[in-house]
Symmetry: C2
Subunit: 469 residues, 2 copies
């Protein structure tokens, strides 16, 4: 597939659909929509289009099909796997005008348009006494549509599940321009093949999501947050599984290597923490619920578990301010690393008990290929982010050696019954590692699904599936 | 498609795969495997085969593909939509030899073979201090494989979700005889299209499940169960939504019409309940957790909510024995109705606030077409079972009028943003109502998925998709 150039006819056709004011051909706009948060890639679309209704999108898809023009749905461009990059040019379909929120208090549901910012939605639900748990670290800027497309997780997934666990029904514009609802607005559904869940995590390759029906929960009123310093990183990982075995399901259970917390502290002036030199890792643990006494009892149980390991003094966040500071520290790690060096971020996930083995393996692989890594993430669900730092590595090694190391990390992950991505998606940057997780038969089934939905391969081409399939 | 007759060659081929002792051609065995719990259908397979390994199933699928012989996976035959009926004869593939359970305490997971009885699994998990919540009413006899195939729910789904919410990974023999794992043993996964969730609820039409990796939770130690009699059935339905709006997520919230409870009481000698004539419906409400004080506080909150409606005295089940009796009463309704009359059971599901509208509509439709219905089910998730009773209706009306009424019930369900089946599946008996829930485009996508996985249409043909598609 080659980069697309657009004829004047097509531009005229697009203008007729959305109005000329929503069509952008200038290089500034196209460059702006040509990147997300994935390394330093920029693939400008040939044209940026900002439709306002599903019907307009349907017309755009019909036009694109006629002329075999790639169409890439674009959300807030906070993605970490390059899912929204217009790698073959074509139409960059910005969803930014789809911002409606409707909270259905009677059914504990919400109907959302895809460009609603995740945090805006969470706050709108909270105002009605309701709770939408998924909270990706980028919640302040990412959108619900992107969360659905990538099946985003976040810190609360360990207790409350990921985006997919809240999606009940989707309105989708199919690549051929037809519009369907994938399911029903119900908590239970055994009615035909589950196209809703097929669409979730499909990274904008099977259809364009225009409405999302989400399940909501009643809001919790209390939580307890503690930061536990471990003298041995492996023991921090071991403690994770032990906390669950003690009968506790924390609402967050985050792991940060020493390096991760140091980078974060350097980056954030406002947060002060005095950490002993010998501390190798931290667990950030939260329990939530409606009954403070219960939460204190659970916090004590957790202390009982972790004190069997070599830990320093546990810090309890007493105020909202302290809690926010600790969360900010955790959420800022990726940004802090990024601000300091060229890097690649992998999103490994394993059964949680395998975390120490994964962490140890990553360090050994790093030594072998000469790279440093900063590891942190959602240890409660075995989801470890691995930031590989270029530092003073040569360009040649960065280009040729690091991918071999990444391949070995993924091979290790899969051998531990884990997989390539827990919550960031495969997108553009991980697609050529897919053979590690899946047999050819399996990949051919995925390709068949793509062909069924999108026979002309115009919707977000060149994502998820490996190039040589 | 016509009913299949098998040549001696094929029988010899099957014998070579499994050994002759696992091949059954006698009419008694075939008839035994020809029915499930769906009305009074019996469609004997041409041969019953009891394979012992995924590899044997793979060989059977290759043979069946060569000769275009239908293959129907058969579990415990407790299904209510005819999913396991060999409607075109062929090979009835009984999975009964797949009974291994492996509990992975370190990761809070289980690896199960499909013929494990659901209750046996739940008890095995409980012995290790772990909890597998889904509990279909048939849990004492249904199997996990069937639960996955139908995406079964049960009473605890309201708080804990349905089968799909626990399935992490599946080993599947594809119709072409290849064996894949659909995903990874992880709580988070954003790695390609979600074939795991495509397989869940596919009713044995896309592949044969041979291993299931399930998520487990830590076990709860306490619960409180109460039976609330309502003088108005509509108010019982209204109270359901109000309980959630009060911030409570009960672990079960079951609805029984007066008739349902009367039929149950008649059927069960052991349970005694004195119910006033004026009582129209009951809610059976359970809360669970680890802290009895919290549960009593929640039970009080629930009482506060329901006492705003016209209710009789609330019965608290004080002992395990009383709890079991109430659950037995609830679980036995379908059987009680069945023992008394020819019947059809529908498995409607709507957003929970729409329950009163659905219930009222069903009664009006019943009057219009001359049938009586007994309604009960999982009101907490809007899942209402509708048992339509033949009673003294003429055969002609039963055959011609009732399907029109069922169509109207489903039309009402869909208009309320619900759908045809919450937890029983579509199978054989509901397939020709699928046009009510889905557009032709949508159904063609489902058909395309079926063709992709099973190009020769040999795996459980004639299920889910309408005949005229």
């Amino acid at each position: 597939m080659q980069t697309t150039t657009l004829s004047q006819d097509i531009v005229t056709g697009l203008e007729a659909i959305t109005g000329a004011q929503f069509i952008f051909l200038d290089i500034q706009t196209r460059t702006h929509y040509g990147h997300d948060e994935t390394e330093d890639y920029n693939f400008p679309p040939s044209v940026v289009v900002k439709p306002g209704t599903p019907q307009e999108i349907a017309e755009i898809m019909k036009l694109a099909n006629q002329h075999s023009i790639p169409v890439v749905p674009i959300g807030a461009r906070t993605g970490l796997s390059g899912g929204a990059l217009s790698i073959y040019g074509g139409i960059g379909l910005s969803m930014e005008r789809f911002t409606k929120i409707e909270i259905d208090e009677k059914n504990l549901q919400a109907i959302l348009e895809p460009a609603v910012i995740t945090q805006v939605f969470r706050e709108a639900a909270a105002e009605k006494g309701l709770f939408y748990p998924p909270d990706p670290s980028s919640q302040g800027s990412c959108t619900i549509g992107g969360n659905v497309a990538e099946n985003s997780g976040g810190a609360r997934a360990v207790k409350y599940g990921v985006t997919k666990d809240y999606v009940l029904n989707l309105e989708v514009v199919l690549p051929n321009g037809e519009i369907i609802w994938t399911g029903a607005n119900t908590l239970k559904n055994s009615t035909g093949y589950n196209l809703t869940q097929l669409m979730v995590g499909s990274e904008g390759t099977l259809g364009i999501i225009t409405k999302i029906v989400m399940k909501l929960l009643p809001k919790n009123s209390h939580n307890v947050l503690m930061l536990i310093p471990f003298f041995k990183a492996g023991q921090a990982c071991e403690a994770v599984a032990e906390i669950f075995r003690a009968g506790i399901v924390p609402s967050a259970l985050e792991f940060m290597e020493r390096d991760a917390i140091d980078w974060g502290l350097k980056y954030l002036d406002a947060v002060n923490l005095d950490i002993k030199d010998e501390v190798q890792a931290h667990l950030l643990v939260e329990v939530d619920g409606n009954y403070p006494d219960v939460l204190f009892a659970e916090a004590e149980k957790i202390m009982g578990v972790v004190e069997r390991f070599e830990v320093d003094e546990i810090l309890f966040a007493d105020t909202e301010e302290q809690k926010n500071a600790l969360w900010k520290l955790r959420r800022t790690v990726a940004e802090a690393v990024k601000s300091n060096s060229v890097y690649k971020e992998e999103d490994t996930v394993v059964p949680r008990y395998e975390l120490p083995t994964l962490l140890e393996g990553i360090k050994i692989i790093g030594k072998k290929y000469g790279f440093q890594s900063v590891c942190y993430g959602h240890a409660g669900d075995g989801n470890l982010h691995v930031n590989i730092i270029k530092g003073d590595m040569t360009d040649d090694n960065w280009k040729n050696e690091v991918p071999k190391g990444i391949r070995e990390i993924f091979e290790l992950t899969v051998s531990l019954k884990g997989t390539l991505s827990g919550e960031h998606g495969i997108g553009y940057v991980q697609k050529n590692y897919m053979d590690i997780a899946f047999s050819n038969t399996h990949l051919q089934l995925m390709k068949g699904i793509k062909q069924l939905f999108d026979p002309n391969n115009i919707l977000n081409p060149g994502k998820i599936l490996p190039d040589n399939l």
